[in-house]
Structures are given as C-alpha cells and as structure tokens.
Symmetry: C2
DNA sequence: ATTATTCCTATCTGGCCGGTCGGAATTACG
DNA sequence: CGTAATTCCGACCGGCCAGATAGGAATAAT
C-alpha cells in the first residue's frame, strides 16, 4: 500500500509553494528544481492542482503558480485527494461511498471490512489534522536544530 | 493507495480459518470457496502465511490448513505484513527502517516526510489494535442483527 | 493402488504508473 | 510591434508488476 509518485510529487510541490507563499507567482521550473520533480511531469500534476482550485496560475512572462490560500488553511488531505482520489485502502471502503452499494463478493458479509474502515479512518485523521503551514514550520524548526538555517 | 489483492485475499482467508478454528485442518478448496478467492491463487498466498508461521498445514488426504494460534492472539497487522510487507505509505518511512539511511532526493530535508510518518502510524495503529478474534466476533454480531444468524 | 490433498516454481498477460514530447495560447518587456 | 518567458493541452509510450494460471511432484489416508 504505497502512495504513488503523483501524491508524493504533488505534496512536495505544494510544500515548495507554501514556502514561497506571498512572493508572487513562482514559475514551474523553480518549483520543479526545489521539489526535485521532472518539470514535464510536474506540469501535468500541477494542472490538476490548479483545476481543483488549490493553486492559481498566471500565464505569460513572469507568470507562474501560487497557493490560492494561505498554507495554514490548506489541509494536506486536500492535496492528497486531488492527486490520489478519495482515501480508500480498499474499494469497498472508499470515502465518498454511496452506503447502499455493497459490491463485496462475500457470502455473508465481509468481516475484514471492519479493519479497512479503521485503516481508512486512521489515514484520514493523519491527513486532515495537518496543514501545509504545519509542514513548513516543522521543517524550518528541524533546519535550525541541524544548523542548516545558519549561514 | 490501495491494499493489493494479496492483502485482501490473505485477510479473508485468515478470517475464514479463524471461523473454523478448532475443527481440525481445513482443505484449501473450502477456504477458497468461503473467502471467494481463486483456489490456485490462494494456494500461493497461503504458502506465504504458512512460511511465516501463521498457519499450520497437514499434508495428504484429510489434510488442510489451520491457524497456528487462537484467533484472539493474531493481530491483523501480522497478517497484513506477511502479505504486503512492512507498513510504508512511502519508501522513506518504512516500518523496519534503518534510521541512518535517508534516500530522500530533496535538498534540505523533506517536509512532507512528517505527513507520511503520521499516515504510517495511523495505519499501524489500526492494524495492530485488532485481532482476527475481534473480526469474527463483530461479524457474528451483525449477522444476528440482520437476521442471517437465525434459521 | 487410488484418491485427496499440500507443495513448488515457471509462465503469462493486461493495465497503468510514470514519464516525454510538441506545439498552441498568453502575457511582459524593450 | 516582435521576441522571450511562460502556462496550457493532449497525445503518446515503454516497462514493470499485480494477479493470476498451469503442471507436476511429494505426502498421507483408506
């Protein structure tokens, strides 16, 4: 059960944008470098984030991307869902589920479903209790400790 | 981020075995039917579970498989790990990690790592706080309520 | 013997992840 | 203006691996 590179890269890109929040549009090339994502691929991913309304874009020279909201107002769960779809360790426990549909092939109900629901809820909790703001802040703190922040 | 069919099927098979615990060896064909898993495939999977020591096997006619421990003593996390490997939503946060190795390509440490660790811990908690015993018990209870248990 | 079963390992196949490419549209700037 | 910097869009594609299947050898009951 791994997060795909879409999720990984998307998250990294958003953190980069969070770090540069308030300094105007950041060109794709910069984000790509800063987040170590192949530019051509990132373009695809960031398009998704834009369509989802998480980032704004400015076209033309001096254009680029920026967060549409302050980092503290963006839950990482939002980013995750845009990139990876609804949280669902298993098809039968997807977040946005119609309660009526039960496509489990099991004879008398599936006992394992209970576990997957717990797992899903664990993931959701982890994702929705953190914001991009938390991430950059935490990271800066650890930079300080390791001395990287002092030059 | 989905659990593969190995995890799904493996868990189902183990629940079947948990239900039949104490009634002697259960042939593969039975488990396959009961858990709706292709027999040939299940054979492969249950082999893993056996090698991991979670099930015992008896060969020859009247042979089959059975749990090596009581259902209440088997955490679903154990089953999960046998089928899916260490819990790791992301390579850089795998459970059985050597703390020294850090293969993150990021320049100044990866801020996103914090999320993935939280996610991982959420999953681990969900998996390790439940036993096979819990599952069959819970399921029987819901059977009662829906009337399936009454004949 | 014959039958029921586990055990082993080789092989196959489709889907999709992860990525590239080319070019069109848009805007700043001198 | 024209040119350079940028976003935007959709088509393409190769490789890997999940998800099986197949066949046969070993083992044990009857």
């Amino acid at each position: 059960m791994k997060v795909s590179t879409r999720g990984e890269y998307g998250m990294r890109a958003m953190v980069s944008l969070a770090r540069l929040y308030g300094e105007g549009p950041v060109p794709l090339s910069t984000i790509a470098t800063e987040s170590s994502v192949p530019p051509a691929y990132l373009e695809q991913l960031i398009g998704q984030l834009r369509r989802a309304g998480l980032v704004n874009s400015t076209r033309g020279a001096n254009g680029g991307y920026e967060l549409s909201r302050a980092p503290e107002d963006v839950r990482v769960g939002e980013v995750y869902r845009v990139m990876e779809g609804p949280v669902a360790p298993m098809v039968c426990v997807t977040e946005d589920m119609d309660p009526s549909e039960d496509l489990c092939p099991m004879i008398d109900g599936c006992a394992t479903r209970l576990v997957w629901i717990k797992v899903r809820d664990g993931i959701v909790e982890a994702l929705d209790s953190t914001t991009l703001g938390d991430l950059v802040q935490q990271n800066r703190k650890s930079d300080m400790l390791s001395g990287t922040g002092v030059s």
